[in-house]
């Protein structure tokens, strides 16, 4: 049960990590909050955002068109929910019709929007404590 060796090479580690004479024990890292100094790099951030966009914009196009488990159950028991309204209903951009482009665009918009909204929310939450930089 040792840490992945890549941990030693992870980007963005603080200078204290390289000066330290003894190798760190995994337990020490989690217990002392040492991981605080190991911020995620811009590269990690962008790779993850790229993966999210790939899933939302491309992989989602191949999603099963079967109804959801809950949807199926509600339909079987004749429970009608109110149809929702929104600018991009059913993950499609109305201006682009209902083809592949429309679904891909809605997925990309939604993924970027979620990321942006969450970063703003977290930034607002943290700024009330003390000023901090969030990329």
């Amino acid at each position: 049960m040792t840490l992945d060796p890549q941990m030693q090479q992870s980007p963005g580690r603080g200078p204290s990590a390289s000066d330290s004479p003894a190798p760190r024990l995994p337990a020490e890292i989690s217990r002392s909050g040492e991981a605080r100094h190991r911020g995620i790099s811009l590269r990690t951030f962008l790779v993850l955002l790229g993966v999210a966009l790939l899933v939302g914009g491309v992989v989602a196009l191949f999603a099963s068109s079967r109804p959801d488990v809950l949807e199926t159950f509600l339909a079987e028991h004749a429970i009608e929910g109110a149809p929702g309204v929104g600018p991009l209903p059913d993950y499609e951009v109305p201006a682009l019709g209902s083809g592949v482009a429309s679904r891909a665009a809605a997925g990309l918009i939604g993924t970027l929007l979620t990321c942006a909204v969450l970063l703003v929310v977290v930034r607002c939450l943290r700024s009330r404590r003390e000023p901090r930089k969030i990329p």
Binding site: M1, L3, D4, Q6, S10, G12, P26, A27, I29, S30, A35, R36, G39, I40, S41, T44, V47, L48, V51, A52, G56, F62, A63, S64, R66, P67, D68, V69, L70, E71, T72, F73, L74, H77, I79, E80, G81, P83, G84, G86, P87, L88, P89, D90, A106, G107, G110, L113, T114, C115, V117, L118, L119, V121, V122, L125, R126, R128, R132, P135
Partner: protein, 215 residues
């Protein structure tokens, strides 16, 4: 498993769930403000976005005519802790309801309670109990898969309770709602473990405990 508005026919259930969810999200927001280590903050944005995208990918549930998508509660909980996971999923569910007409606006309470709050807390308890040291190895991945699957099941059980409280026949509800979820819980666990394995190759430190004591 997003409930549309009106599917919970008893308004008391809808509003009780709204109240509980609002309280839980409030507590989660406070804890994100004080407890989460700094390097995880930008991750709330990208991983929240990943979960939004992953929820668009419906997969067929074997043996049924239906499909499901993952909730992502376990994935977010392992990397960000339960507070940030609840906050991120609550935001995803709100955006889905307001922009994509997926899930009701009033039903946001029940959907957040089932998917985000119960899913995240269940996974958190499983992780804390079975992997308290959190070294980020394959044991961590296995327990994360278990926690994510059980989290999905716990949320489905609560959904079944809510539908039962609205006057539906319990036998039908439990068979109909929980049946599909039991099969899909394995999928939720597998996808969670695979995603975490991918994240580990990118940034191994992210699999150790996300929350710090308040400074």
């Amino acid at each position: 498993m997003h409930l549309p508005d009106g599917a919970l026919s008893d308004p008391r259930v809808t509003f009780a769930a709204l109240g509980l969810s609002a309280a839980a999200v409030g507590i989660a927001a406070r804890r994100v403000r004080t407890h989460l280590s700094d390097e995880r903050l930008p991750l709330i944005g990208v991983l929240g976005a990943f979960v939004f995208a992953a929820q668009m990918v419906n997969l067929p549930v074997p043996g049924t005519p239906a499909s499901m998508h993952i909730s992502g509660a376990g994935l977010l909980t392992v990397v960000l802790g339960p507070s940030a996971a609840i906050l991120a999923l609550a935001a995803v569910l709100l955006l889905q309801a307001l922009i994509f007409a997926d899930g009701g606006v009033l039903a946001w309470g029940a959907n957040t309670l089932n998917l985000a709050v119960v899913g995240s807390l269940t996974c958190y308890v499983v992780m804390r109990t079975l992997d308290p040291k959190r070294r980020g190895g394959n044991w961590t991945l296995g327990i994360a898969a278990l926690g994510a699957g059980l989290g999905l099941l716990a949320g489905a059980a609560l959904l079944a309770v809510e539908l039962t409280l609205c006057g539906l026949d319990p036998a039908l509800v439990w068979a109909g709602v929980l049946g599909g979820h039991v099969l899909f819980a394995t999928g939720e666990g597998l996808i969670t473990a695979l995603s975490l394995a991918g994240l580990r190759t990118l940034a191994p430190a992210l699999l150790v405990t996300p929350e710090t004591t308040p400074s």
